[in-house]
């Protein structure tokens, strides 16, 4: 049933370790994926062989580091099928990317303008827009979801108007796994001239993304959710939009000319990359992309889809288990509760058995409020997840239930 060979899993050193005396069963990949040896080795090689600051030295090391660094930008351009390499901006992560856009719109929005977000958003694609609304006097509107965790497209159509300036939503929900119809939502937003900002943090690890085909204006992602290092992410933006937005932070690297009173900004992408970047993480991300493409994103997706169906069947067979998020289009995440049990208690007992799941609100309080629950237990999948991991989860869950009831 699982399509990927076990040799994939063997490339992740951490999966050999034990937790609380038991073999680790890692089912928290939506929080962060583990890293293959190729990524760890790329970071070691960078520091051992060509560590140097980028974009400024005439010396050999700096040139090597700059070439490797800019090479990853081109890899990302190809991975997302962006029209230009300068449309890929390196950020600290998805949250930083969204804040960069939201901050840029401060000089564009006016009172009376509207920003549309959805009820499915992670706080990172919600709070920056709330701050933008507060700052500019614009109004924030919400697209509601139904009981399955599917966005109400009729409500979305009704919310759109000539006042809509920004539409922000995730590609895949971190809490429920819903895959949103990005292309359709983008076409609708563009009919009113609104900019479309997509949080792709949960999509990039699981699916191929073509930003030109989707026609989105901005797309954000994080390396650490796609087998790469923490502290690095990307903001894709169409050239016209990136030129329109003012820079988010000032400093070195992002300027063309500096005088005491005023400076002119550098061109893209450097305008948005103030300060020395996280070079080791960019290099590591390049190795992660190479690794993902070697395994094949479509193969990873098929593997995870098969495991998701299996996990859903097995969990639904346990009396009292309720799964949250039943969208027909769903990816790699299974959120659930056991009737009468607190997710924290279940998570604590699973941890004792070496099983790592996420419990709580998953930074999506509006979703939990809608369901009227304190949180869920979330198991999330990746390329290295096996059927045995899910069997361990089911067995562990049955044990936890018998202890708690």
């Amino acid at each position: 049933m699982a399509n990927l060979p076990t040799s994939v899993r063997e490339q992740f050193p951490i999966l050999q370790r034990k937790v609380n005396g038991k073999p680790l069963v890692y089912l928290d990949s939506a929080a962060t994926t583990q890293k293959p040896l190729a990524v760890i080795e790329a970071i070691v090689r960078y520091y051992s062989e060509f560590n140097s600051n980028v974009h400024r030295g005439v010396h050999q090391l700096s040139q090597e580091a700059t070439e490797a660094f800019e090479g990853v930008r081109i890899q990302l351009q190809q991975h997302l099928h962006a029209a230009e390499a300068h449309e890929i901006i390196f950020t600290k992560g998805t949250t930083d990317s969204i804040n960069t856009v939201a901050h840029g719109f401060r000089s564009i929005l006016q009172p009376g303008d509207e920003i549309i977000v959805t009820q499915l958003e992670h706080h990172s694609n919600l709070v920056p827009w709330q701050m933008l609304a507060q700052h500019t006097g614009a109004t924030l509107r919400y697209v509601p979801m139904d009981g399955r965790g599917v966005l109400d497209m009729k409500a979305y159509a009704d919310l759109l108007s000539p006042s809509t300036k920004v539409v922000a939503f995730n590609h895949i929900s971190n809490a429920l796994g819903t895959v949103n119809p990005v292309k359709e939502m983008t076409v609708m937003a563009h009919q009113y001239g609104a900019a479309v900002v997509v949080d792709g943090a949960q999509a990039l690890p699981h699916t191929t993304v073509d930003v030109q085909d989707l026609d989105v204006d901005f797309y954000a992602g994080s390396a650490h959710k796609m087998y790469g290092p923490t502290g690095i992410g990307l903001l894709y933006g169409k050239t016209t939009w990136l030129e329109k937005l003012p820079p988010y932070q000032g400093g070195g690297e992002m300027i063309a000319e500096v005088a005491m009173e005023v400076s002119t900004y550098a061109g893209l992408p450097h305008k948005f990359e103030a300060g020395t970047p996280n070079i080791e993480a960019v290099i590591g991300w390049g190795a992660a992309l190479t690794w993902m493409n070697r395994v094949g994103v479509k193969n990873i997706q098929a593997h995870e889809d098969a495991l998701l169906r299996y996990a859903t069947e097995r969990l639904e067979a346990i009396p009292g288990v309720k799964i949250y998020g039943k969208a027909p289009e769903k990816a790699a995440v299974i959120s659930f509760n056991v009737h009468g049990l607190h997710p924290y208690d279940v998570g604590t007992l699973l941890d004792q058995m070496g099983i790592a799941v996420r419990t709580g609100q998953h930074c999506t309080q509006p979703i939990m409020d809608e369901f009227g629950i304190p949180g869920t237990i979330r198991a999330s999948l990746a390329a290295y997840t096996t059927k045995e991991d899910l069997d361990a989860l089911v067995k562990g869950l049955e044990k936890a239930i018998s202890l708690l009831q």
């Binding site: 609380n20 049990l341 607190h342 997710p343 924290y344 208690d345 998570g347 604590t348 007992l349 004792q352 419990t359 709580g360 609100q361 304190p374 949180g375 044990k399 202890l403 708690l404």
Partner: protein
């Protein structure tokens, strides 16, 4: 009335029986179920210690016998931890409570539950118990 040291010794002896984590957690869950219910009048938002994962309510009043605590949690394991902590401090003097460190949790292997990363409200509860000790001490003084 038994001293805090005596009560700690009782708990250590009780947990000494358990060879594996399952027995220990079963006991903790049982303690959680046995914890007397909190007076609904005291289970207010003001007395709520909001954790990200689980929530704790704590109320205290003082008498000649010492400080009387009432507490609750929405998660049963957290409730068991609450019951354990209250067993030590119930009816003790404000002075002793203010100075108390809850070090016994280390000996029974449950100290991780007070880690800030757990975000279950217990660490804040411990701080709040001590604060009640300090406050009631000042009131008497």
């Amino acid at each position: 009335m038994s001293s805090m040291a005596d009560r700690e010794a009782d708990i250590l002896e009780e947990f000494d029986f358990f060879d594996d984590w399952m027995d220990k957690y079963e006991h903790l869950i049982a303690l959680g179920k046995e914890l007397p219910p909190m007076n609904p009048l005291h289970k207010t938002d003001d007395n709520k210690i909001k954790g990200c994962q689980s929530q704790v309510w704590l109320y205290a009043q003082t008498s000649d016998a010492g400080i009387q605590f009432e507490a609750d949690s929405d998660a049963i394991i957290t409730r068991g931890m609450v019951a354990l902590l209250l067993r030590i401090v119930q009816d003790q003097s404000p002075e002793e409570i203010a100075a108390y460190g809850f070090g016994f949790l280390d000996d029974i292997g449950l100290t991780a539950h007070l880690s800030p990363t757990r975000a279950n409200g217990l660490l804040s509860m411990v701080k709040q118990i001590r604060l009640y000790g300090v406050a009631f001490q000042a009131k008497r003084g």
